[in-house]
């Protein structure tokens, strides 16, 4: 009964305590959230090629006390400060992220991670103003090892101030902070507030704020290893090609005028990659050209030559898009496994085989728009366009160059709608100063590697070296006047030259009066250029794109999307999809089959808004709610050094060609919390051990005492 008594007593106590507890209950709180603040992150990830890896990763969750450095002096102070006993997460402005600074920090053994603050241009969220001069983190001649001059000695270095940060491998996390949307603004504020608190406490008065990164990358060593183990995917996407000639065929012996640009670029933080100067200006140029040419009074598909627009992706990764395109059109497709239904081929995989209509032997000239934004650092001045030609085959492109300069000089009268109010942007030959530099890194090189004598001109806004915004995370703005003017001029020059070439005219002075009249209809739409710049950088949900893709209907309409190519087949390709729709629209023949009276039948509309009732025929596509016929297609882009096997796995076909892959990563995470000093943690451990030892000693004495005095055991 004593047992029961003690039992009842216990019940009674419990009851009483329960009542007491009720009186003292506080609101329930998730204990995890009380300690940790999970915030959004913009990581730098690991990519691999045939020889090694680049990018950042961390094997264990790295965590460090936040430490702020704003200048080089701060970094040096951090390195030499011996009072800092912990591991630190250094928060620095983006432009301090140079190889030497990173190396300085890493060699202190106090570094656990780096946060690079990539300031937006809004004044509310800036750690410090952007510096006047910045450097490109790319190599001194980007992708030149896969370019046309890879085997020539003394290749011209197009990016001599490049720091080559992008090709380094870091074994600690580097994340970015940016203010491009609400979620990122919250992270930005949280981290900046925390690091300011730490700075205020002098980094010595604990508890301090600390940040932990989860950034585990599964792939290691190089592409061959990680493909074999299944831990990486090729970098790639969907290139787009389009031609107004619906009936183009490889045996029609009609020459082809190629107008091309790159759609993607790269930078350290793939979520921030925009590449306004690096690639967007070129893409906008080609889209404007296509739109301008679509209003030609002489229909494009009746001309002497075909016009082919090509927008390649994955160009920043060894010209993968253009090289694969050239490779695919140059060799016949041996379809081993035909598709279950529809067109294309299951193995080797092609979603359609219409690219076979393009005969590379028919390619007559290539006109490419490279960096044409006139965005320089330091900013200032008005832009000039330069036309580059290959220097290995100097005579091949000479005539074309002359024509370009001729067209650009304004000899053909006013070429913009509305008319340009500023002085026209001058167009000059890049070798006008006597130095033959050859072509800058460009997609055209892929065509020339197959056949070196194709007349080719690449238009850029630089003569001697690429913009220092190349491959920069800060390449996200443009000059509203200079950039628009430069793009207009480039589009105008290219469109008119292409039009003349398609007519078989290679000298403007030799045009017939009818042609001179007709060329006046080729007008570049300035409003379109401005819209495109905005839509492709800041607001993907703009009316222009919404008209094709109905993006505003989604729950959170996208605004700023990165121009990183992504991984093959595993990401949506918003810019490829838009480019396809746009080009399909401007090159299409709407509602074809003219009946006997020559009156075109009304266009079939409603194929997407009322898709249950209105269907397009099998040879038509539904673009912008209309059924159209078009020869606009996608083309897979990934490194030509990689091949796809029948079981859909990838392998290295040729290690000397581009073999870029991206590692599989565990979900990345970033969390903010307090920490105590290592000293106090050691103190807690010591206190615990001392307490336990003391109690053991007391217990031993207690037993002896009890034995003696109470005579029990």
């Amino acid at each position: 009964m004593d047992a029961t008594r003690s039992g009842t007593r216990r019940m009674l106590r419990r009851l009483v305590m329960g009542l007491a507890a009720f009186c003292t209950l506080t609101t329930a709180q998730d204990s995890y959230d009380a300690v940790y603040n999970d915030i959004g992150s913009l990581p730098c990830v690991r990519l691999l090629n045939a020889t090694g890896a680049i990018g950042c990763q961390s094997l264990n969750a790295a965590s460090g006390v936040l430490y702020r450095t704003d200048t080089l002096a701060d970094i040096q102070h951090f390195a030499s400060d011996h009072d800092l006993k912990n591991k630190y997460t250094v928060v620095m402005p983006y432009w301090l992220l140079t190889s030497s600074n990173v190396e300085t920090l890493r060699s202190t053994d106090k570094l656990s991670a780096i946060i690079a603050v990539v300031n937006g241009t809004d004044a509310a969220h800036t750690v410090a103003a952007r510096p006047a001069t910045i450097n490109s983190p790319d190599s001194k001649c980007p992708n030149c090892e896969f370019g046309l001059y890879a085997n020539t000695p003394n290749q011209y270095q197009w990016n001599p101030t490049g720091t080559d940060l992008l090709s380094q491998q870091f074994d600690f996390p580097i994340y970015a902070l940016n203010t491009m949307d609400d979620r990122n603004i919250m992270s930005y504020n949280a981290v900046i507030q925390a690091v300011n608190i730490n700075r205020f406490k002098g980094y010595s008065s604990y508890p301090l704020k600390s940040l932990q990164f989860h950034s585990f990358m599964w792939a290691a060593q190089d592409t061959g290893t990680c493909l074999r183990k299944g831990w990486c995917t090729p970098v790639g996407g969907a290139s787009v090609w389009s031609t107004p000639s619906l009936n183009i065929s490889s045996s029609d012996n009609k020459p082809i005028v190629v107008i091309s640009a790159a759609m993607d670029s790269r930078s350290l933080f793939h979520d921030l990659t925009l590449g306004v100067e690096s690639s967007i200006t070129g893409m906008v140029t080609v889209l404007a050209v296509a739109e301008a040419l679509s209003r030609s009074s002489i229909p494009l598909d009746t001309m002497q030559k075909h016009i082919l627009y090509t927008l390649f992706t994955a160009e920043a990764w060894g010209f993968s898009g253009s090289q694969r395109f050239v490779q695919d059109i140059s060799s016949p497709v041996n379809c081993i496994k035909p598709p279950a239904s529809g067109s294309g081929c299951t193995y080797p995989f092609f979603s359609d085989l219409d690219f076979q209509h393009i005969n590379p032997a028919n390619i007559d000239i290539i006109l490419e728009a490279g960096q044409v934004g006139g965005i320089t650092s330091p900013a200032g001045g008005s832009p000039t366009l330069y036309a580059h030609i290959d220097n290995l085959q100097p005579t091949a492109s000479a005539a074309l160059l002359t024509q370009i300069v001729q067209v650009g000089s304004g000899a053909l009268g006013n070429t913009t709608t509305p008319p340009a109010t500023n002085a026209a942007v001058p167009v000059q030959a890049a070798n006008g100063d006597g130095t033959q530099r050859g072509l800058p890194p460009s997609s055209a090189m892929s065509f020339l590697k197959a056949r070196a004598t194709i007349p080719t001109v690449v238009l850029t806004d630089y003569q001697k070296q690429m913009s220092s915004f190349t491959s920069q995370d800060l390449d996200d703005t443009w000059d509203p006047v200079n950039t628009v003017n430069a793009i207009q001029q480039a589009a105008s020059v290219i469109s008119k030259t292409a039009w003349m070439q398609a007519q078989g005219v290679s000298d403007a002075t030799l045009m017939t009066p009818a042609q001179q009249q007709a060329i006046g209809s080729i007008q570049v739409n300035v409003q379109l250029v401005q819209d495109l710049l905005l839509c492709l950088t800041r607001n993907y949900s703009c009316p222009l794109i919404d008209g094709y893709l109905n993006v505003t209907a989604s729950p959170s309409p996208p605004t700023r999307l990165p121009h990183y190519a992504g991984t093959l087949y595993s990401q949506s390709q918003p810019f490829s999809i838009f480019a396809w729709n746009f080009l399909a629209n401007v090159t299409s023949v709407k509602g074809v089959t003219q009946n006997a009276t020559g009156v075109p039948p009304p266009q079939v509309t409603g194929c997407s808004s009322r898709s249950e009732t209105v269907q397009c025929t099998s040879d038509q596509f539904c673009v912008g709610d209309q059924c159209i016929q078009t020869m606009t297609r996608y083309h897979d882009a990934f490194g030509v050094g990689l091949g796809m096997a029948e079981d859909n796995s990838y392998f290295i076909k040729d290690a000397s060609k581009p073999t870029w892959t991206e590692s599989t990563w565990d979900p990345v995470g970033l969390r903010l919390f307090d920490v105590t000093s290592p000293g106090s943690q050691g103190g807690e451990l010591a206190a615990g051990i001392v307490l336990t030892i003391v109690s053991i000693v007391l217990v031993v004495f207690g037993r002896r005492f009890l034995k003696k005095t109470l005579k029990v055991d």
Binding site: A21, T24, T26, A28, Q29, S31, L59, F216
Partner: protein, 462 residues
């Protein structure tokens, strides 16, 4: 009685170790790995978050019913086979199942560890290590080996089995445990229960089959009694035997086979229960530890359901074998009541698959409290497995439930042992512990954990 106190210690230790190992495996696998055990294809009902309470109840009842059905059938088959004397077949089968358990569940666990701890390990090393691990386990369990090694392997096997059973959905697990309680009670206590029949037949056959050397017990019990006890019993024993004999015998005997397999490889179907009893006893000297004399242990193996056929590729690793394979070993504590009759062992048969038997406490002899000679308490391996399953399921929720259920299960085990001392016959080991465990789990989960969550950050103590 005092003897029991010491024996309780010896029982608690391996049970606690097995439970801790199971908690460890569960916590590791919950830390985000891909290789968690999954349900077998025998379940007819898949729980989903949107089902109503009654749907969950009936569906999990169906699932658990299927598993129990398999167990019952296998138990009966084992009883029949035992009665007919096809011991070798059973033993051979046990060996295969143990090998599969150690090999494949060990493989899945190792994959879990590698993924969560991010250990870089190549396949060759892993295959080599796993092969050695499995073979050493087979040898130490079925043949000769150091006692401690056998104990370690049995514990690890129990925890592996429990880990595999955590792949069951939640409702199904609780239903299964509840049905097991009922089955255990029926099978051991009712006169027509298969396990009772097993015990009797082993007792009857006792004399005739000295060669049945399989002890199914957790060996350590056998080995553990200190020499003093051994001698004491020895001296009491009317039959003489040398300690050495005992040792050898126990060495040969032990084997606890249990396990059911879930080996994927066998793809099997149904569990088999095997019991073997050992009788050593009568004409042979007691085995060490006294308990032995004639303890029969039965082992029930039940390869359950796993059914993953062997032709599944590696990818199927994820599907683990299901539940139920629990080997249980029969362990049982028995003490010989009647040495003279030599057959007194109380065999505890383990049922197939899941259950284990209860331990019987042997107490024996009626001579008095300190004459237990049979050697200590024996606890079937199946008991270990199901205690661990209950606690592993509690561990999937929160640490507080884990601790509460652990104490509850140990308390239940103590209570059972007391009853054993009082009633002196074979008792089912599961019911009290599982009932306590389930009660505490639900009470803690729905009442205590939210309470503590509210108190925690506000640093108030009650």
């Amino acid at each position: 009685m005092k003897f029991y106190m010491l024996q309780i210690y010896k029982i608690i230790k391996p049970v606690v170790v097995c439970i801790c190992l199971s908690i460890l495996w569960v916590k590791i696998s919950m830390a985000g790995s891909d290789y968690r055990p999954t349900q077998s294809s025998y379940t007819v009902y898949n729980e989903s978050a949107t089902s109503t309470v009654s749907q969950n109840f009936l569906g999990s009842l169906a699932n658990a019913g299927i598993i129990i059905g398999q167990i019952v059938i296998v138990t009966i088959i084992i009883v029949i086979m035992f009665k007919r004397g096809h011991i070798k077949i059973l033993i051979g089968f046990f060996m295969v199942v143990v090998a599969m358990l150690l090999g494949f569940m060990g493989y899945i666990l190792l994959l879990n560890l590698i993924q969560v701890l991010r250990i870089p390990l190549d396949y060759i090393t892993m295959a080599f290590a796993l092969w050695n691990f499995a073979v050493a386990g087979l040898i130490s369990v079925f043949w000769k080996g150091p006692m401690w090694l056998q104990q370690v392997y049995l514990t690890v096997m129990s925890s592996l089995m429990a880990f595999s059973l955590t792949g069951l959905a939640e409702w199904t697990t609780w239903m299964l445990l509840a049905l097991l309680v009922v089955w255990d009670l029926i099978a051991v206590l009712c006169p027509f229960g298969p396990l009772k029949i097993l015990v009797e037949s082993s007792r009857n056959q006792n004399q005739e089959v000295p060669a049945l050397l399989y002890t199914v017990n957790a060996v350590w019990f056998m080995a553990s009694p200190p020499n003093s006890i051994l001698e004491r019993e020895y001296s009491r024993s009317k039959e003489g035997s040398t300690v050495r004999d005992s040792v050898e015998e126990s060495g040969d005997l032990r084997r606890d086979v249990f396990n059911g397999g879930h080996s994927r490889s066998t793809g099997r179907e149904g569990g088999t229960s095997i019991s073997s009893s050992r009788h050593s006893g009568l004409d042979t000297p007691f085995s060490t530890g006294g308990r032995m004399s004639g303890n029969s242990s039965t082992v029930a193996l039940v390869p359950t359901a796993s059914n993953q056929s062997a032709d599944h590729g590696d990818i199927e690793l994820r599907e683990r074998t299901p539940s139920s394979s629990s080997p249980r070993s029969g362990g049982s504590t028995t003490s010989d009541r009647d040495r003279r009759s030599a057959s007194v062992r109380r065999a505890q048969a383990i049922e197939q698959g899941s259950r284990s038997r209860p331990q019987d406490g042997g107490d024996n002899d009626g001579d008095g409290d300190d004459e237990d000679e049979s050697g200590g308490l024996k606890l079937g391996l199946g008991d270990f497995v199901f205690y661990s399953v209950l606690i592993a399921r509690a561990a999937m929720f929160d640490w507080v439930t884990t601790m509460c259920c652990m104490v509850a299960v140990l308390t239940g085990m103590n209570a059972t042992i007391f009853l054993l001392a009082i009633y002196q016959k074979a008792l089912p080991a599961l019911p009290i512990s599982i009932c306590f465990g389930m009660l505490f789990y639900f009470a803690t989960r729905f009442a205590l954990v939210p309470f503590l969550a509210a108190l925690g950050p506000s640093q108030v103590f009650i």
